[in-house]
């Protein structure tokens, strides 16, 4: 069945034109500037994935964002799972799945504080490195740079390089969003506010 149809009457044409122009005008006016957007990602109880769920590819060498954790980031799991790393933001490397080659910031509630980690997969091998701590309600800046031979993490004046093993340079780098776990799902609703640059 063809979706194409003809608009024959002049009235219909006018209405159609006006609707199109209005929708464009409204959207131009309402779209907030990027620096004003703090998007709240919520991981619901017994779930791993956060909402809203986005599909996006990385389109630059650098991923920069600010994040703020609230009191929902405090949780208690069985001792064996308390140091499981929860994921914040990052990307899968060139044409790879994220368990092959990827780089992300990770976090965990441990020793009564939120610990931030660099969390990578390089040729399927997981590499983690401690970056620092962040307080409840604190807005911290995160920078992840895709350098030729390394993923460069910058957090609170600490800079960590993790070797990048992916050989491919041109292709799809899909974004990775907040995720709880590890193996266990979120014990309660967890909210993280993130502002992208």
């Amino acid at each position: 069945m063809s979706l194409v149809f003809s608009l024959t009457s002049n009235k219909m044409k006018k209405v159609f034109t006006i609707l199109c122009l209005c929708s464009v005008a409204i959207l131009f006016a309402c779209e907030p500037a990027l620096e004003n957007i703090f998007e709240v990602y919520t991981i619901e109880k017994n779930d791993h994935y956060s909402n809203p769920r986005h599909i996006e590819s990385l389109q630059s060498n650098v991923l920069i964002f600010q994040a703020r954790f609230d009191s929902s980031a405090i949780y208690t799991l069985a001792e064996a799972y308390q140091d499981s790393k929860n994921k914040l933001l990052g990307f899968a490397d060139c044409n790879s799945m994220h368990h092959e080659n990827s780089a992300r910031f990770a976090w965990q509630w441990y020793h009564n504080s939120i610990e931030i980690y660099a969390y990578c997969y390089a040729n399927g091998e997981r590499v983690e490195e401690f970056l620092g701590r962040v307080g409840i309600g604190e807005i911290a800046s995160y920078k992840l740079e895709l350098a030729p031979g390394a993923y460069v993490f910058t957090f609170k004046d600490r800079r960590v390089e993790i070797a990048r093993t992916a050989k491919c340079n041109t292709g799809m780098y899909y974004m990775l969003w907040p995720y709880f776990g590890g193996q266990l799902p979120a014990p309660h609703d967890i909210s993280i506010s993130i502002k992208r640059y």
Partner: protein, 142 residues
């Protein structure tokens, strides 16, 4: 260089053979990370389906200055959904490389209004950087 020469030769040949069905377009796109400008050229079928190539670059520096090259180059296709003599509303898909490295796909909708037999005004809404982006432009039918 060889690729560019072949591309230019093919486009020139198409102009000679099918000049009445080629289009070129200049456009501005307002994205969440800044305004971009660019051009496109391609082939338009009788049912107004369009297939072409496009080039786009930022009109000003990105809000962070870490990206040295974020031109967006690729192919585009427009499928008409509703059309009349003067109007055409269609779904478009652009796919290409940002900074010659990062693959990106941007779906959207576009309305064109015929101003003269060879000139059309374009208004579109695309999905870029996970946010709506708005496009305005002028299309020339060659």
């Amino acid at each position: 260089m060889k690729t560019y020469l072949i591309t230019i030769t093919l486009i020139t040949s198409c102009i000679v053979v099918n000049g009445q069905r080629l289009y070129s377009r200049i456009a501005l796109e307002n994205t969440v990370v800044g305004t971009r400008y660019g051009a496109a050229a391609g082939y338009m079928a009788n049912n107004r389906l369009q297939l072409g190539v496009f080039y786009q670059r930022p009109a000003n520096a990105m809000k962070n200055d870490f990206i040295s090259d974020n031109t967006f180059v690729g192919i585009e296709v427009l499928v008409p959904i509703a059309k009349s003599e003067r109007l055409c509303f269609g779904a478009q898909l652009r796919a290409g490389l940002v900074g010659h490295r990062f693959m990106a796909v941007t779906p959207g909708f576009r309305t064109s209004v015929r101003l003269s037999p060879r000139l059309q005004a374009i208004a579109g809404m695309n999905w870029r950087f996970n946010r709506p982006a708005h496009e305005l432009g002028i299309q020339f039918n060659l």
